[in-house]
Amino acid sequence: MARNVSTDPRQHAPSPISETKVVVENFRAYFGRSAVLRNITLTIKPCERLAIIGPAGSGKTTFLRTLNRLNDLEPLFRYTGRILLDGSDIYDGDADVPALRRRLGMVYAVPTPLPWSIQENIVFGPRTAGVTNRHKLEEIVERALRGAFLWEEVKDRLKMNATDLSGGQQQRLCLARVLALEPEVLLLDEPCSGLDPISTAKIEDAIAELKSRYSIVLVTNNTKQAARASDRTAFFLMGEMIEIGDTRQIFTNPVHGHTNDYITGNFG
């Protein structure tokens, strides 16, 4: 479990929730003594696509794994500050962490299909959440696979082992698996990093489509992808958020020199 070294979060008044889905306030994260996130403050609106860009080691992935409390699994993880989802602190002592992770569904950089059938991969989440009705589960499988643009390719072989799919299909299966949870926020950690351009395009199509229903946080190493597939962009550097703004503004007229250097390829 994470140990909260901040003051009791409940003594703060709840933040207004009207136009924000996620609020991150003065968030710092440490692994042991080394700080990996320094004073991150940002908000994520409902149904917006936020891209996070930055060089390797800038804390992008740690930030995502902080949002669904996956860093709790690291024994040396510590944090200060707070993160609110719909106004309530996700690091609150009696938060239901598994339920929280279903609300913030995550797709990892490397496709991580479990070595089971396509169908089993998708029903795992809903079943864990307590859905047992067979018809309901079948419905969920179809809806999730359609949402990830994978249904047409696999509808006749749902019993096939997921690890036999191609890399791009595996990643879309991972997206489908998350959609089956009916999350509120999608956390995509470099979802296209190992994929060919066609697979990448399919994932981006899915992201564009899904925007109407979910807030999406897209971590990417590909600045062009950030420019194509996001509404707002945040630039991280060495654990700090240097700049956040409308994607168009970040890519045409960044405020900070480091941001400009990064997006023009002068370092990173």
Partner: protein, 279 residues
């Protein structure tokens, strides 16, 4: 001196590998074939279905077959759950530290102790102190302790070999720790855990010294866990050591070898089917 050319080195290396493999497999096949050739002609239906007469000079080994299955079966039924649970605790529920290091070191030490020492411990503790006497139960408990380190270590390795990505996927999909352990990790580690258990069954069946001191060497058919019994391995030892009957000794050894082969094959077959089903 001129260095040999790479292809020549390659040929030499490959020949050595072949030689090593042939020696390893050859010795094994020779032993098995030798014993089966001397023993199998004496393995008759009467040998398998009757009790021994005249201390085993005549008659069969039915009580020993039953006794072996009792002792080894019970031992693994005790050791497997305890061992697997310990391995789960060590890998999934604690962080690496002094405690895990001590437990692991202890397990490794236990694995290296000669079986006669386990026998002595079992004799003093189970047989005398706990008053179980020379019995199937004493023998099984002793063997359970003896194979426990093997089960813990093989299970631990199997669990550790499950990719971290599987765990991340499980947690990310909203599973609890228990859900991830039972449905994701154990499911993938099962073949490895099964291998450890099969190894333990083999060791339990073939153990001689430890059961001699704890299960005793009664010749009658055991009817409860508190009866003394004689296992096949011990029967072979007594028959040959005391010069009672070498043909019967080899026949007993043959039964032992065939039993172990059968159990291993059966276990692998069941495991394959099981793995194919859960995949």
């Amino acid at each position: 001196m001129k260095r040999p050319s790479p292809p020549a080195m390659q040929r030499v290396a490959v020949s050595f590998m072949w030689l090593g493999t042939i020696i390893a497999v050859g010795v094994l096949l020779f032993i098995v074939a030798y014993i089966l050739m001397l023993g199998l002609p004496h393995v008759t239906w009467e040998f398998l279905s009757q009790g021994p007469r005249l201390m085993g000079r005549e008659g069969g080994v039915l009580p020993m077959i039953v006794g072996t299955l009792w002792v080894a079966g019970l031992a693994v039924m005790i050791a497997a759950p305890v061992g697997v649970i310990t391995a789960i605790y060590l890998t999934e529920y604690t962080t690496e530290g002094k405690l895990t290091a001590v437990i692991r070191f202890g397990a490794d030490c236990l694995a290296g102790i000669p079986s006669i020492i386990f026998g002595l411990f079992g004799f003093v503790f189970f047989t005398i102190t706990l008053g179980m006497g020379l019995s199937v139960l004493s023998g099984a408990m002793t063997l359970a302790i003896m194979v426990l380190p093997t089960i813990i270590r093989t299970s631990e390795e199997a669990i550790r070999a499950v990719p971290r990505a599987y765990r991340d996927a499980g947690y990310g999909l909203g599973a609890t720790r228990w859900g991830v352990v039972t449905q994701v990790v154990l499911r993938s580690a099962l073949p490895g855990i099964g291998t450890g258990i099969v190894l333990s069954i083999g060791r339990s069946i073939s153990e001689t010294a430890a059961v001699m001191l704890t299960a005793g060497s009664a010749l009658r058919l055991p009817t409860s866990a508190f009866d003394s019994t004689r296992t096949l391995a011990l029967h072979f030892f007594v028959l040959s050591r005391e010069g009672i009957s070498m043909p019967k000794a080899y026949a007993t050894a043959s039964v032992l070898i065939v039993a172990i082969l059968t159990i291993n094959l059966l276990a692998y077959w069941v495991m394959q089917r099981f793995v194919a089903r859960v995949r």
